[in-house]
């Protein structure tokens, strides 16, 4: 820009002394240029000035990626951690938070929450989404989570026994107004519930129901593939016939040279009539049984997110009304237009002169539920299976084996009885509430054991822990983890360790598909962190500040006493 300006001035000085008309033009140009430079320059300058880095200094940092940094700094910029360690110096003009004597940990993650989801339940329908039912404006509930250091949570769907929908991951957001929770992944896992029925038969029935649903999805896929195959053949045959006819006509044309000019387009129209007539037949069939539009594009994989009918406006309807069903995008597939070349301008209302015995293949009825299950089979969605009793857990492993799906087991009260099988299958477990009544209980918690987590650690099963889908106890996921780890630490001999913290940070992040993006403090990770008054394991420690994406979302000193 500088060179441009100087060049401009050099050029303009050479123009000095010429006519005033020119001079006025020059003034206008220089004004425009100055305006442009003022408008363009500050953007970067202001960005530099206002996007100041935040630095947390002198903190004890529990990174969850390596050893604890006893005294170090964290530099945050653009909502992310850019630098972290004991030798880090603060950049100029940065906002500083002095954390001497305090401990910084990653924000806690509740891998099995019901927060903001109270009372919301869908029927057992795989297409339902938890993200549709989250009360993201429930400030009171979410703020209590924040004041206990919880920043991220997974909420599932609660439709009862069966395949019941797609779970979501929420991140709390700073600010007093607007939604307090942000849905950062509305497609986090496919939730399946094996039920907590006391009757073994009842649980078996649910398992069979789920298994059938997956089986049906596979059959549906095969039908789609067969259909694509048949359609391809059909189109090839149509093409063949058309060519044959053209050939015949060409021969006829050779005989009747006079009619040449008229007959050719007319013949073309004839061929269009064929397809037009075919369409009419199709339409008739549709009257009894709604059929998807023949999709000529071989697309065996349904699109990840089936969209509802993509024709809300008149423009979208027009092709349908005029009979051009090519735009009817069922299953979210793109409207087929590759065979439209010879049809588009055809006479749709032409007489049915169809002498064709070729039968058009029937497209399988769209099955959106199966579409969702197929995404699980294609490893696009992890399957979160709620299974409490040991037999149900084994059923879940069976299901994973049969359909080659990636699963996580949720609930798992009796996991300690099948810990070896879980370890062998390398399946992760999400545990719920540890402290339970010691009175006799039936169903899911009949054989609950406080040593469940310990047995899993010992067998080498990876586990994390949530609040058990509760709408009220998500805030105490840390306490819950502490209780589980207390009993779990036995076998490790690591009494008094920070094992519990990893269960609600780094390991939790992995199990809900956030990987390294959350639950760890390292450069590049989102700056979701908690500043504790002391060691997070110490009962007297309080949450002083919570930062989400680098912004202060909770500040105990600003809250007063409460």
């Amino acid at each position: 820009m500088v060179t441009a300006v100087s060049r401009f001035f050099v050029r303009s000085s050479s123009w000095r002394g010429s006519g005033s008309r020119r001079h006025a033009g020059f003034q206008r140009r220089i004004l425009a240029l100055v305006a442009a430079s003022v408008m363009s320059l500050p953007v970067s300058v202001f960005a530099q000035l206002f996007d100041r880095a935040t630095v947390i200094e002198n903190a004890r940092i529990v990174t969850q990626t390596g050893p604890v940094v006893e005294r170090g700094s964290i530099v945050i910029k653009g909502g992310r951690i850019v630098e972290l360690g004991s030798e880090v110096s603060a950049p100029m003009f940065s906002k500083k938070i002095d954390a001497a004597g305090k401990t910084v940990s990653p924000g806690l993650i509740d891998v099995w929450s019901g927060l903001g989801h109270a009372g919301a339940s869908s029927s057992a329908d795989p297409t339902s989404r938890a993200s549709d039912a989250v009360a993201t404006y429930d400030h009171e509930a979410f703020r209590d989570a924040l004041r206990n250091g919880v920043t991220t949570m997974f909420v599932g769907t609660n439709g009862g026994a069966g395949v019941n929908g797609i779970g979501a991951v929420l991140q709390l957001s700073p600010g007093e107004s607007g939604p307090i929770a942000k849905i950062i992944d509305d497609d986090a896992a496919l939730c399946v519930d094996f039920g907590s029925s006391e009757s073994a038969l009842g649980r078996l029935k649910t398992f069979q129901k789920v298994r059938k649903a997956f089986k049906k999805a596979e059959v549906y896929r095969r039908a789609l593939e067969d259909y694509d195959e048949e359609l391809k053949e059909y189109i090839e045959k149509l093409e063949e016939r058309r060519k044959e006819k053209e050939k015949e006509e060409a021969e006829e044309a050779g005989d009747e040279k006079d009619a040449d000019d008229e007959s050719k387009p007319k013949k073309k129209g004839d061929s269009d009539d064929e397809s037009g007539g075919d369409k009419d037949k199709d339409k008739e069939k549709d009257k009894d049984k709604p059929k998807p539009k023949p999709d000529p594009k071989p697309d065996p994989k349904p699109k990840p997110k089936p969209k509802p009918d993509p024709k809300p406006d008149g423009a979208g309807l027009r092709p349908l009304l005029s009979g051009a069903r090519g735009a009817d995008g069922e299953n979210g597939k793109k409207p087929g237009n590759d065979k439209g070349g010879d049809k588009k301008d055809g006479d749709k209302d032409g007489d049915d002169e169809d002498d064709d015995e070729l039968e058009k293949p029937e497209q399988p009825a769209p099955d959106r539920k199966s579409d969702v299950l197929l995404r699980a089979i294609d490893h696009e969605l992890i399957v979160r299976i709620r299974a409490y009793r040991s037999a149900s857990i084994l059923n879940a492993l069976e299901l994973a084996d049969e359909f080659k799906i990636d699963i996580v087991i949720e609930g798992a009260t009796e996991a300690y009885l099948v810990a070896d099988q879980l370890a062998e299958a390398k399946v992760s477990v999400v545990l719920g509430r540890v402290s339970r009544s010691e009175l006799f209980q039936d169903g899911a918690f009949r054989r609950h054991s406080r040593r469940n987590a310990a047995a899993l650690s010992q067998a080498g099963v990876s586990w994390s822990i949530g609040s058990g889908g509760s709408a009220t106890s998500s805030r105490f996921v840390g306490f819950n983890a502490q209780m589980a780890s207390g009993y779990g630490a036995t076998s490790q001999g690591a009494v008094g360790s920070d094992d519990w913290l990893s269960r609600v940070t780094s390991r939790a992040s992995r199990v809900i598909g956030l990987g390294g993006r959350a639950g760890r403090l390292r450069s590049g990770a989102a700056a979701d962190l908690v500043i504790w008054s002391g060691d997070p394991s110490d009962p007297g420690s309080r949450v002083e500040q919570v930062l989400i994406n680098g912004e202060i979302a909770f500040d105990a000193s600003a809250e007063g006493d409460r």
């Binding site: 009175l439 209780m483 207390g486 490790q492 001999g493 009494v495 009962p539």
Partner: protein, 398 residues
């Protein structure tokens, strides 16, 4: 320290009792082991611990705790560092659950007469119930069992130790349990409302002041029997304070339902507030109650409702109270010495002090830390529970 308790031998003898020879042998063994255990008990033993919970609720460093005849003989600070299993361990007085259902769940639900001072909770305890083992595994060594608070006057509570083999009853007669609030109102007998409750109680107190009520009530108004009042709502607390304006007490109020302005009303009175059980679902304003009161010098103790609310309910209640503003020292007192005061057994248990019963728990860390585990539990100087796996892992030969 690790001597076998006679009851093991006893159980052995029962199994073989059909054979006379075995019976003889068993009787002999029993006698022998009884003698042996008495000999051992007379021998003082010492535990060296990393830290211990002092009577003021603070964690004090390294101490030598000497036991003799089932009591604490001496507690001496030492510079000698503890080793082995107990190096990082914290010795804590046995936890006390002030609203327990141990061995008595569903056994104390008398609700026919609104005023029923002759009921004794001790009659509802099943000493063979597995709850005792559950309580011990969580470090609860003493419990107050109340008659269910479904009557204006429900009878007297019992205070027991949780070692079922010895069935130690610390106190069978008290405190006298009174209740206000909706759980008392019934359609088939008076009272049917809050105002009715207070009218009946006022009449009762007048009669008692004249010495014409049940002896337990007569004693209570004169300060001869401690009282414990269950208050559902904060307005019940206010009503109770008005009610007791001219008579002694109440010694404790069981109230969990929210803070309101109780602290100001209660400060300056000798009334302890029992809160809990707190759970992970308890609303924040209820969790804040313990801290608000305790920070204004109102003594606070905890009710855990073990085992109905889980085995670790006492510690969970305390930990949640701390998270919502209570000082850790006050919370440790609330599980031990303050609770012993409410139960009226502070001369026997509740703190690690010379002359008190050697009822204590060895935790792997601060008992307020929920990942601290119970390594061993002693009642009257005898080990009644041990987490053998944890002790082995921590390097104790066990």
């Amino acid at each position: 320290m690790n001597h076998r308790h006679p009851r093991h031998a006893h159980r052995f003898s029962i199994r073989r009792s059909r054979h006379f020879g075995f019976v003889l042998a068993a009787v002999f063994t029993l006698a022998l082991s009884a003698v042996a255990s008495r000999a051992l008990a007379q021998q003082p033993s010492t535990i060296l611990v990393g830290r211990y919970v002092a009577p003021d609720g603070t964690l004090k460093p390294s101490a030598n705790i000497e036991l003799r005849d089932g009591k604490f003989a001496s507690i001496k600070m030492t510079d000698e560092p503890a080793t082995g299993a107990y190096a990082h361990a914290v010795v804590c007085p046995g936890l006390i659950d002030l609203r327990s259902n141990i061995g008595s769940y569903g056994q104390t639900n008398e609700s026919k007469n609104a005023i029923d001072p002759s009921v004794n909770a001790i009659d509802g305890i099943d000493w063979h119930h597995r709850d005792f083992k559950t309580a011990l595994s969580a470090g609860v060594t003493a419990a107050m069992i109340s008659p269910s608070p479904h009557n204006l006057v429900s009878g007297v509570a019992a205070v027991i130790k949780t070692d079922p083999s010895r069935a130690v009853v610390l106190r069978a007669d008290g405190p006298l349990v009174l209740s206000l609030g909706p759980q008392v109102w019934r359609y088939d007998r008076s009272p049917t409302s809050r105002t009715g409750s207070l009218a009946m109680l006022r009449d009762l107190f007048d009669t008692a002041r004249r010495g014409q009520a049940h002896p337990r009530l007569n004693a209570m108004v004169k300060g001869g029997l401690t009282s414990l009042v269950y208050c559902d709502d904060a307005m019940d607390v206010s009503a109770v304070l008005r009610l007791f304006d001219t008579v002694a007490g109440p010694d404790a109020i069981v109230h969990t339902g929210g803070e309101h302005d109780l602290a100001n009303e209660l400060s300056g009175r000798a009334t302890t507030v029992v809160v809990g059980p707190y759970g992970l679902d308890t609303p924040p304003r209820e969790l804040a109650l313990a801290g608000t009161l305790s920070n204004k010098e109102v003594p606070v103790a905890f009710a855990g409702q073990v085992p109905v609310r889980g085995r670790d309910s006492v510690r969970l209640t305390a930990a949640l109270a701390v998270r919502y503003g209570m000082a850790p020292e006050a919370a440790r007192r609330g599980m031990t010495i303050t609770a012993a005061k409410v139960a009226g057994v502070v001369d026997r248990i509740g703190s690690i002090e010379t002359g008190k019963d050697a009822d204590f728990v060895i935790f792997s860390d601060d008992p307020l830390r929920l990942d601290a585990k119970v390594l061993a539990v002693y009642i009257g100087g005898t080990r009644v529970y041990a987490d053998h796996a944890a002790l082995r892992a921590a390097g104790d030969v066990d």
